[in-house]
């Protein structure tokens, strides 16, 4: 018996699930207030998070911070900014890791931690629910 699994099919299924479940969630991209970056496009954001770019538009080094797998914000973020389901993100990183071209972003457990880390380092970039945003971070991208 063989089990055939189409990645795309499963990705589509996951995407539908999240879109339905987290319709109300509103994830924004943030950086340190000390960063000179003020606004970023969707592609600039997704490139940094998918390992395709390592610098901000202003030339500063960019280090993305991810939430742990399975968090709503993470799934929503990748869905909205990169158009990828969690499986697709995993497949994406699998290939990069396998071929030795890079490593996935550092994972932190909570949005609070992200906030804390970002506040201290203008090279970091992360995402969080809008409700979490305060003066410690600067929102540079919002996807409706």
């Amino acid at each position: 018996m063989s089990f055939l699994n189409r990645i795309e099919m499963s990705a589509l299924g996951t995407a539908l699930f999240f879109m339905a479940g987290c319709a109300m969630a509103d994830v924004v991209v943030v950086v340190s207030p000390s960063s000179s970056v003020t606004a970023m496009s969707q592609n600039q954001v997704s490139d940094i998070f998918l390992g395709k770019a390592s610098r901000f538009p202003n030339g500063d080094r960019a280090v993305p911070l991810d939430l742990e797998e399975g968090s709503d914000e993470r799934d929503q973020f990748y869905m909205k900014y990169a158009g990828k389901s969690p499986a697709q993100v995993r497949a994406h990183w699998s290939k990069i890791v396998f071929t030795g071209k890079g490593l996935p972003p550092k994972e932190v457990l909570h949005s609070q931690e992200i906030k804390k880390l970002i506040a201290e380092n203008h090279n970091l970039i992360g995402y969080m629910d809008r409700s979490m945003v305060d003066a410690k971070v600067k929102v540079v991208a919002v996807m409706e």
Binding site: M1, S2, R6, V97
Partner: protein, 893 residues
């Protein structure tokens, strides 16, 4: 050089005959097709091998890459396992996975799950808590617990274990070396095929990892990933690239395998042959299509060209045949044919012609070899004085296209023909001249023309030409206010010469006379023989007076009179000559000739051997003659003739033994006309034949009437003219007359003149014999005036000789006549013929004749010719007198 030429010619011949274009084209097309396909297949083969090399290179490179990636990946796993093992063995249960993770000592948790199990298989730490349960039954756990090996392993995988993660594990030892648990790294099988690049492997390529149990831990083709399937006999130790048809999906692939050494794994890389060769197949199809299209084009082109060239060959063959036919015809013809090409100067004016072709006869005509003539210019061939004119004519034809033809008297010394006919016809870039030697025809024409205009015997112009010459002379005379004289010459007694010496002598005589006459006139004068012994001389350019003409005339007379020696005889010829002068004696040729003729008649009438100028009185006579001629034509139908009869007396018995029928013409205006005045006319216009027939019939009728009236039978003598005698109907006429009148043939006597018989004695004798057969008697009239020979006379079937009146007239005084009379009488008696004397007018004559034995006589002394009634009276009266007084001397009045 010559050899080479020959070789080339031979080659051309061979090519021309055996390799005509319509055969060459298909051959060439076949050859080309073969080439095209050979090249195509060669290119395809090249393409294939190059493609296969590319594939081999590509697969080798990908296998290398995949192998490197695998080794590195497995190294990371191995390294991580070792790190955790170490960390755990030092820290024990205090070890924080999270700390290790934060320090970046663990592989990315997104892909890898790291877990530690204690010696009981319970998970005591994991990057993904709750994801893994107790592993006491796991392959790795059991392996590490049961065998004390310090090496990492991976679960071997098994058929049907789809979806399972791959477990990499390592034993953890307690400080005493006892089994303390295992550290595990779990990874999705997909991970090991995530390096699948569509751009390089395509949709049907394959990447796969085979475990210890010959099971695919994972296998990916395009987006299709499968796990836990049978390895299907892939040889882990295969060297290089091999082509398989993979059992799992039936795709044919180039495959490479690499055995890995850190773990018992074998990786495979495969490229679908169909996919990889697709570009090649496309290329191959393109090549084949190209070759096919080229072949088709070639076939069509060759077909069209073949057809065209076949048609060309056909038409060429037809043309050649036509040419050969034409050539044969042109060689066979008697005409010389020249094909001439125009030569133009700068102003497009034709200045010369070049001989493009000529047939054999043309070459012969010009007296040159054909090869010498070809490509020659006319100006180089022909003398300039003619060639200009000729080229002008030809150029006219070439310009206007009108057919030109004419006859031409040759002026080129090297052309033998005297007369040429040539016809010139325009052709495309010149003319074709056809020439024919018509010299013979011309000669014949000239001969015929000469014959038509000249007398065959003497070569002098004849009557036809005479009219023409007179006309010319008259117009000349008119122009110069001069005159011309027509001299009409008739040789005297020429008939006698002809009769006695034969035609040959007569002809010779005429020739000599003609020649002499020619000698004594000028070049501009004309001597014509009218026929027989009649000649006409036209003296042109005369002053018109008798005095000036006389010397010429005398010369002519002297020339004629000069003795001629022919067949041993000396002949002296005289001529009767009449002259008429333009314009005095007539304004045209006919009038002048007629008048000269009249003058000649006058000369004859005046005793011959003299000349007479035409006078008005002659004209009068001519008028009379014309009137007589006119009347004569109607005399028979108007019943104007009648016969009188002159009795013939037996001199011994004084009895009437017969009568001679004599014709008389009672002209309604001119009255009674004697035979001598109209018989000659009748002979001239042919009336004599009808008249003779009428006389014959009338005489027979009368003779029979007298017999019926009781008169004793007597002989009826009828004169036969020469014309009648020549006419073949004479026998029939006589027969018919006798039959129709019922007269017995023995009472009819035909009188023939001596000259009449002598004209053609043999013919005469045969007719005479036939007449004799009928029973008709024959006599010779006017005997003594001709030249009858004794031997001829002997053969004539005649009964009687009639002594001509000219020998009786001077009897008995003339000694000559006496001798002749006596000779004739004795001759007659010798031949047993009766002799009758004509024209007895005196008693003296009668006495002499009677005395010397002449049998019979007729003449005025006895009686004038009598009408039938008068004769009856005369007969009765004479019978009565004879009865009373016997022989009577003077009977007639």
């Amino acid at each position: 050089m010559a050899d080479r030429k020959q070789t080339v010619a031979g080659l051309k011949k061979i090519l021309g005959t055996s390799l005509e274009a319509h055969l060459l084209f298909p051959l060439f097309a076949l050859l080309m097709t073969a080439c095209i396909w050979a090249v195509t297949y060669h290119l395809i083969e090249l393409e294939r091998t190059s493609k296969e090399r590319v594939i081999a290179d590509s697969i080798a490179e990908q296998a290398e890459t995949y192998e490197a990636q695998m080794i590195r990946s497995l190294d990371v796993i191995e390294q991580s396992l070792k790190t955790i093992q170490y960390a755990y063995e030092i820290n024990g249960k205090k070890l924080s996975i999270v700390q290790l993770k934060d320090k970046g000592l663990l592989p990315p948790s997104l892909v890898f799950t790291v877990a530690i199990a204690d010696k009981n298989g319970e998970i005591i730490a994991s990057t993904h808590p709750g994801r893994i349960k107790n592993v006491v039954d796991g392959h790795g756990f059991r392996h590490h617990r049961d065998s004390d090996t310090q090496e990492s392993i991976v679960n071997p995988g098994s058929a049907g274990s789809s979806g399972d993660k791959l477990h990499f594990s390592r034993r953890i030892n307690a400080s005493d070396g006892a089994f303390a648990g295992i550290v595990m790294i779990l990874v999705e099988p997909h991970y090991f095929t995530s390096g699948y690049e569509r751009s390089r492997l395509g949709e049907k390529g394959v990447l796969g990892l085979i475990g210890e149990n010959d099971v695919f831990l994972v296998r990916r083709s395009g987006d299709l990933v499968s796990t836990g399937e049978a390895g299907d006999g892939v040889d882990p130790d295969q060297v290089g690239t091999r082509l398989y048809i993979n059992a799992w999906d039936g795709v044919q692939r180039y495959m490479q395998t690499r055995r890995l050494y850190s773990f018992p794994l074998t990786l495979i890389v495969g490229l679908s042959r169909a996919e990889q060769m697709e570009s090649f197949e496309r290329q191959k199809r393109a090549y084949l299509w190209g070759a096919g299209a080229a072949t088709f084009l070639l076939a069509v082109t060759a077909g069209v060209l073949t057809r065209l060239s076949w048609q060309l060959a056909l038409s060429r063959r037809r043309t050649r045949k036509d040419q050969e036919t034409f050539y044969a015809a042109s060689e066979a013809t008697l005409d010389a044919i020249f094909v001439l090409r125009s030569l133009l100067d700068e102003r497009k004016k034709i200045v010369d012609f070049v001989i493009d072709n000529v047939n054999e006869r043309g070459a012969v005509m010009l007296g040159r070899a054909k090869s010498e003539l070809l490509q020659q210019r006319l100006r180089d061939l022909l003398p300039s004085h003619v060639v200009d004119f000729m080229i002008g004519e030809f150029a006219e034809v070439a310009l206007t296209g009108k057919v030109f033809e004419r006859e031409w008297e040759n002026q080129f010394p090297h052309i033998r023909a005297k007369w040429l006919y040539y016809q010139v016809v325009k052709v495309e870039d010149g003319v074709v001249a056809t020439m024919r030697d018509i010299s013979e025809r011309k000669q014949a024409e000239e001969r015929i023309s000469h014959m038509a205009h000249h007398d065959a015997l003497t070569g002098l112009p004849n009557r036809t030409l005479l009219d023409d010459r007179i006309r010319q002379a008259i117009s000349l005379a008119q122009r110069h206010a001069r005159s011309l004289t027509i001299i009409f010459i008739d040789l005297d007694d020429f008939k006698l010469v002809n009769d006695s010496l034969g035609h040959k002598v007569g002809d010779e005589l005429l020739k000599i006379v003609a020649d002499r006459m020619l000698q004594c006139v000028r070049q501009s004068d004309t001597v014509v023989r009218l026929g027989g012994d009649e000649f006409v001389i036209v003296l042109s350019d005369q002053s018109g007076t008798a005095e000036t003409i006389t010397p010429s005339l005398q010369r002519i007379r002297d020339a004629i009179a000069e003795p001629i020696f022919l067949s041993g005889q000396r002949l002296e010829v005289t001529a009767s000559i009449g002259l008429a002068t333009y314009p005095r004696d007539g304004s045209d040729g006919d009038a002048l000739l007629m008048n000269a003729d009249a003058a000649m008649y006058q000369a004859k009438a005046l005793g011959r051997n003299n000349y007479q100028f035409f006078t008005a009185e002659m004209n009068q006579k001519i008028q009379e003659r014309l009137a007589l001629q006119d009347g004569l034509r109607n005399a028979l139908s108007r019943d104007e003739f009648f016969l009188v009869y002159q009795p013939q007396i037996d001199l011994r018995s004084n009895r009437i033994v017969g009568v001679e029928a004599l014709i008389r013409w009672l002209h309604p205006v001119m009255g009674l006309i004697a035979p001598k005045d109209f018989i000659r006319l009748a002979e001239e216009n042919g009336m004599i034949v009808q008249i003779g027939e009428w006389v014959l019939r009338a005489a027979c009728t009368q003779c029979k009437a007298w017999q019926d009236a009781g008169l004793p039978p007597m002989v009826m003598s009828v004169n036969v003219s020469a014309r009648q005698f020549r006419d073949n109907n004479l026998i029939d006429q006589v027969e018919a007359a006798l039959r129709e009148t019922g007269l017995d043939a023995q009472w009819l006597e035909l009188e023939l003149t001596e000259s009449l018989i002598m004209q053609n004695p043999q013919h005469a004798v045969s007719i005479m014999r036939e007449l004799r057969t009928l029973g008709v008697r024959l006599s010779i009239d006017d005997f003594g005036s001709g030249y009858s020979s004794l031997s001829a006379l002997k053969s004539f079937p005649i009964a009687r000789l009639k002594l001509d009146r000219s020998f009786v007239r001077d009897l008995p005084e003339s000694e000559d006549d006496r001798a002749i009379a006596l000779t004739v009488v004795s001759l007659g008696h010798t031949l047993n013929l009766k002799v009758l004397a004509e024209g007895i007018e005196t008693a003296g004559q009668l006495e002499f004749l009677k005395e010397h034995g002449c049998d019979e006589g007729q003449g005025y002394f006895f009686c004038m010719p009598l009408l039938p009634e008068e004769f009856k009276d005369f007969f009765h009266k004479r019978q009565k007198e004879m009865h009373i007084s016997g022989p009577v001397h003077q009977i007639c009045t």
